[in-house]
């Protein structure tokens, strides 16, 4: 499949600190890649290199096959919401911001105005189109930051903490919009500390730790891999002591629910040990992204 964004072997040092060590990433159309890592792991440094705001010491970035450092015109294919930045002018209104950034990203004035109005309407900001940004709520400002990245309809989006500090309703709306953008074929790199957001949205996951990618793969495959052979068992009532002893002997941990780590064959022995107690639930345990993240970072 054609790659819209590709980074190969990115290295960045700040003095003695090696902030990013040999990071390679790729994004295909319609794909959301969750780029996860602790604070200071190298996420933002990588995002800055991907967006050409920071020169890598080694490695290269290709945006639709072009080098954005040498060919700034390729930046018309990129939109970014940068964490910790306001991203828009607070002394201008949403409409003025979008028209300005639209033209600054290569649209004509007329096209920028048309697109700005369409976006403001789509994202429910039309009634605030003429209110200065500094008077808008945080959620609206964050939505506007996303629209600023979308104004020129770029193929690649870099979203650094797009839902940070938003109320539940706005965060859910943003999630839905990001999902829709991917459905329309945008390639999206999403960095976030909110693992539930990443889990809800991502098709693929890359985890960076101390400047290196320690885990990367399809989200579903990672969740399956990290779930392993774990089963959850719940009983209608606490088991008698002798049953509990048998369960412990078979390696069952916990209590309400019980957790069994082992293969399916031994599970039958566990179930045999429980007979004839009434069962409430037997299920294969599922890992979540938090577990995957903690294991990846813990083992790195």
């Amino acid at each position: 499949m054609e790659l819209l964004l590709e980074a190969r072997g990115l290295w960045k040092r700040f003095g003695a600190l090696e902030a990013v060590k040999g990071v390679s990433l790729a994004l295909a159309p319609g794909e959301i890649l969750a780029f996860l890592g602790k604070n200071g792991a190298g996420k933002t440094t990588t995002v800055k290199m991907l967006s050409s705001l920071l020169f890598p010491d080694e490695g290269e970035v290709r945006l639709l096959g072009q080098d954005p450092f040498k060919e700034p015109s390729s930046l018309r294919h990129l939109g970014a919401v940068l964490e910790g930045n306001r991203n828009v002018y607070w002394r201008l209104t949403p409409l003025e911001n979008l028209v300005y950034f639209g033209v600054a990203r290569g649209l004509s004035l007329g096209a920028a105005r048309k697109r700005a109005q369409a976006l403001l309407e789509e994202y429910g900001l039309l009634e605030k189109a003429w209110v200065e940004v500094r008077h808008l709520s945080r959620g609206m400002q964050q939505k506007l930051a996303l629209l600023q990245a979308l104004i020129h309809d770029p193929e690649v989006l870099l979203l650094d903490e797009p839902t940070l500090g938003l109320d539940v309703e706005t965060a859910l709306l943003m999630e839905a919009k990001v999902r829709e953008l991917a459905r329309r074929g945008k390639a999206i790199l999403l960095t976030t500390h909110q693992l539930s957001v990443a889990e809800a949205l991502a098709h693929r996951v890359a985890i960076i730790h101390r400047g290196e990618i320690v885990l990367e793969g399809e989200k579903e495959a990672l969740l399956t891999r990290f779930a392993g052979e774990h089963y959850l068992l719940e009983l209608e009532a606490p088991p008698p002591l002798e049953v509990l002893k048998r369960l412990r002997a078979l390696g069952v941990e916990g209590e309400g629910p019980f957790l069994f780590r082992g293969d399916g064959e031994v599970l039958w022995k566990v179930l045999e040990a429980l007979r004839p107690l009434p069962l409430k639930r037997v299920a294969k345990a599922e890992a979540d992204l938090l577990e995957v993240f903690l294991k990846a970072v813990g083992h790195a």
């Binding site: 800055k48 705001l53 990129l78 201008l92 300005y100 033209v103 990203r105 290569g106």
Partner: protein
């Protein structure tokens, strides 16, 4: 590029309309500064002092200084504000590249700067009784000086990009600018930025001499050289800022 110019022009008009007090503050400060100097000079010269045509020449020199000053420090103040408010990185994400964008921004800002200088001129003409009626040819050395001013502005903006807090330096260098605009336009002074164009304009205003094409050409070459030097330094600074990650933060 025309659309970018129109967008920048529109943006500068919006700021002007939305924040008229900023313009008013600049007009009052700059008018007051000259008027106080004017009153001081009249006091020293005594009650019967007549400035004659010199007042007009000094006033035009002052207006040239205010125009050049806004061309010189506009970009640096803009960059500092963008770094502080967190839009600088978004500006660097333009496919035009930062230098063309800032060039267009400078050009678009000429109108608001011109409006400020025009209002200062009107205020001072009312206060001092000076009458400015000069040959249209003076506009050419004015524009040449402005070009050099933009060159110095890009050089200073290189520092603003790398070090962000250069407000004090900008304040101090205003006096250097004043010196350059008052320096004689001959000998080694011809090599200093702004000096040849400013001297040419001064001479035309003080003695009424017609525009001297060779002098204008030399002044243009001087300003062009400093303009290109400014762009070169800014290009280096933008590269360094991208290498060291200095576009973010203040």
């Amino acid at each position: 590029m025309l659309d970018l110019f129109l967008a920048e022009f529109w943006r500068s008009l919006l700021f002007l309309r939305r924040y008229p007090l900023e313009l008013l503050g600049a007009v009052v400060t700059l008018s007051l500064l000259f008027y106080l100097l004017f009153l001081g000079a009249r006091f020293l010269a005594g009650p019967g002092a007549e400035f004659g045509g010199r007042l007009e020449a000094v006033l035009v020199g002052y207006l040239l200084w205010t125009f050049t000053l806004s061309a010189y420090n506009g970009l640096s103040f803009g960059l500092m504000e963008e770094a502080q408010t967190g839009t600088l990185e978004q500006v660097f994400l333009t496919p035009y590249g930062p230098i063309p964008l800032f060039l267009v921004r400078n050009l678009a800002g000429l109108l608001s700067q011109g409006l400020m200088v025009f209002l200062v001129a009107l205020t001072l003409m009312t206060l001092t009784g000076a009458r400015l009626a000069f040959a249209p040819g003076v506009v050419l050395p004015f524009l040449v000086v402005l070009l050099g001013g933009y060159g110095l502005g890009f050089a200073m903006a290189s520092l603003a990009l790398l070090y962000k807090r250069v407000g004090q330096l900008l304040g101090l260098s205003q006096f250097l600018l004043l010196f350059l605009l008052q320096a004689p336009g001959e000998g080694a002074f011809l090599l200093l930025p702004l000096a040849p164009g400013a001297a040419l304009a001064r001479e035309m205003l003080a003695t009424g001499t017609p525009l001297e094409p060779l002098g204008l050409l030399l002044a243009l070459l001087n300003s062009l050289a400093y303009f290109l030097l400014g762009l070169f330094l800014f290009r280096l600074a933008a590269k360094r800022a991208r290498r060291l990650g200095l576009l973010h933060g203040y």
